[in-house]
Point group: C2
Chain length 459, copies 2
């Protein structure tokens, strides 16, 4: 049995993607502005040998439902929301091994400054940072950035390709590995002949200059991605090292196979990718207790708040539909995969608000796993065995107890079966995930941009 | 005697503004990528009741000297340099009272995302954040952002005014104070009718939408500024709460008077501003030991590296001048104040590289104070008494020992004289500095944009 990888998923906000659970009396997510909350969470996850804490993010209001943000604001659906990047330094300081994945929408960023920000995080965390690449899907975000609406879906990906090209050049191609003698006696910190200005002239970005930061341990952060559209799959196959998938086992197996094959077509080794399935776990010492806990949690979940969220994700205002009224299918690529995942779980092809609501577990659309540690471990192992995924994104429920329960109950069960590590390997997040060093492999598009140290100390 | 305020100045890089001192055997600034280094420094400053640690920043290479960045890279003159914002969360977590001022160049930022970043920092630090507003002065930065060159000086300030207007609206005018019942039982986190989208249509920025973050303790961070040009003085008089000044006592007194008067003309209370003089202190138990330490430090200082820095600041390539060759005066506003500060310290109006070099102390152009704790305390007190400044920006020398020596020797001396606090006041950085609450006063342009809580709970 291969070793299962495990990320925890949270956001720097109250509502997150487990809609309504912040109202549970024991839930502490309203402490999201408190560094102690985050440091405690990071230590709990590190105690459970989690690979990383993944902090999702969204920029812009969920204002498609009812044509206004009111429902989302009332239920704290991903707004208010703080900048997740700024949580990492304090958590990195409180831990030694846990990785930190952060969603950052590249669409409104200056790549030159953005690259420095991630290098800084990689420095401060000693090589434990991952970037979940997103291009956004909210027109409300575009309006907040001085534009009428966002770029069309495919053009967003074209811009993203150009952006990646810039930041790869800055991270990999600007400073040689042996550019830094840091020689106090000679008074020479860097060797100018080994620090190269990039000169990028792409369709969207022009960037001239050397990277501001010296190289970090990983140089390029570990790249996370979750594209489900055809263009998104290509983007993941080309760039991603960790890919987030959803659906049932057949769907997951298919998408994993598709992306690994596409990655090979791009000249990458399919083994250079790791796949993670989003899961909602409710665990207790026995199945009966887990069912009880799940019933208790359900009383606080808000599928209605979930609708406000899904309206933004699909661009469809679900408030305009009766519970059983067939929803007219808008066939844009960005909603297609969402619609397919709903209809594939329903009898027939008509989808309704009722079906959407029924498919939610604790206010989330991720795969639910409820039961004793043995039952949950069985399920996790069967997923890995049957679908070629590598691990899981454990979505929050009631925090921190949902994560604490998982660490206290499920992790030891998996460890006793030999399917989960009992200690961390040393080294960077990338090395922990792939066991092949801190840097991206040469066959990755970023690795190909790496400048060999001209002094011969190439890595 | 009024209480003296004290900031420490450092940067997230090796070279900083005390050029060459990183080569001192005891200097630890090459640990700038290590969070322990920053947490230790923050704790030292908090032990000394410092008001804040001010982290300067620069974006772009110092490449005017010799027309290339080589001299700067060799001597680590502010490059490589990491993002200073990301140091704050770990230091905030390691301290309780110390404030954190961070330079951030607004010229290449999206105000909507920028505003969230600072609100997040203010949340995480519990109201201890200040922003040093700069517009940059390097063409190399503009080229890294896809532009041929930066905007002209005055237009940069016009854009800055528009940017400030946007972020003030987001910080002060979007969320009412009583917008957040956070009511778990009713399932209501925010009241939509108390969360207002801004609709800014300025000459440079268009921003529509509500602020992403809920209000932080200070809402608007404490505003630092250091403009010396006529346009910069107006900007400081309008916006700044803490202003950085330089020069001799007569010059400092004049600039303080000018800015306070201009602030009054803008409808502000001149007492709502605090002025800080940059100083380089070398202190030891006796005058003789301090002179010895200064001589030791001087052996490592690099005025030549300083020239590479000043070339960028003035746009004049000093490598093209002989030591005593008169430097032709380029009369642009951005260099005028620099030139004036050099010539005012020299006999006559001709300035040369030699004069520049002579005016540097330990690789810096800030006011030097060298001696026993009594002598340094005398000097600090006389500056405050004679010039109407409120405190000092203590520039780094050999770190951390320069800061530690100041905390161990000068602070107790000032405290024994009653001119420096022995404990912190409770509350936000702004309240600690001004004693009048966490928020900007109404008569500040940001305060005027504050939305009274419609439920009557206005502050």
């Amino acid at each position: 049995m291969k070793q299962i990888l495990m990320n925890a998923v949270h956001m720097s906000c109250v509502g997150d993607i487990a809609h309504g659970l912040w109202t549970h009396p024991r839930d502490q997510s309203s402490r999201y502005t408190d560094l102690d909350y985050w440091a405690e969470l990071a230590r709990t996850l590190e105690r459970g040998c989690f690979d990383s804490l993944f902090l999702a993010d969204i920029v812009g209001a969920n204002d498609v439902y009812e044509g206004r943000p009111d429902a989302a604001l009332r239920a704290a659906v991903q707004m208010p929301i703080d900048d997740p990047l700024l949580l990492v330094p304090a958590m990195a300081h409180a831990t030694r091994h846990l990785g930190f994945g952060v969603t950052a929408n590249l669409s409104y960023e200056q790549p030159y400054l953005f690259a420095r920000r991630f290098t800084t995080l990689d420095h401060l965390s000693r090589g434990r940072v991952a970037w979940n690449v997103v291009t956004g899907f909210l027109d409300s975000a575009a309006r907040a950035m001085g534009q009428e609406r966002q770029l069309p879906h495919d053009e967003r990906y074209a811009r993203a390709e150009d952006f990646m090209d810039v930041v790869y050049k800055l991270w990999e191609g600007s400073w040689e590995d042996d550019a830094l003698p840091r020689d106090k006696v000679a008074g020479v910190y860097a060797l100018p002949e080994k620090v190269h200005a990039i000169d990028h002239r792409g369709p969207y970005y022009r960037v001239q200059g050397a990277h501001l930061s010296e190289p970090s341990i990983q140089r390029t952060p570990v790249i996370f991605q979750a594209g489900a559209s055809a263009r998104g799959i290509d983007f993941a196959a080309r760039h991603a090292e960790c890919v987030f998938v959803s659906g049932n086992k057949a769907q997951a197996r298919e998408i994993v196979g598709t992306i690994r094959a596409r990655a090979a077509a791009f000249g990458r080794d399919p083994a250079d990718l790791r796949f993670f399935l989003g899961v909602v776990v409710v665990v207790a010492p026995t199945d009966a207790l887990a069912q009880e806990l799940d019933a208790e949690y359900r009383r606080y979940a808000s599928p209605q708040a979930g609708l406000a969220h899904f309206s933004s994700q699909t661009g469809i205002d679900f408030s305009r539909y009766g519970l059983d009224e067939p929803i007219s299918l808008v066939k844009t690529e960005s909603v297609q995969s969402f619609v397919e995942s709903v209809t594939s779980k329903s009898a027939g092809k008509a989808w309704t608000v009722r079906k959407l609501l029924e498919q939610m577990t604790l206010g989330s659309r991720h795969t639910p796993l409820i039961g004793s540690p043995q039952r949950v471990a069985d399920a996790l192992e069967s997923w890995v065995r049957e679908t070629d995924i590598d691990g899981f994104n454990l979505v929050r429920t009631v925090v921190p107890e949902g994560f604490t329960d998982f660490v206290d109950l499920v992790i030891p069960e998996l460890q006793s079966r030999g399917s989960f590590k009992t200690t961390y390997a040393e080294g960077s997040l990338r090395h922990k995930l792939f066991g092949a060093g801190d840097r991206l492999p040469r066959r990755h598009p970023a690795g190909a941009l790496r400048r060999a140290a001209s002094g011969g100390a190439s890595t």
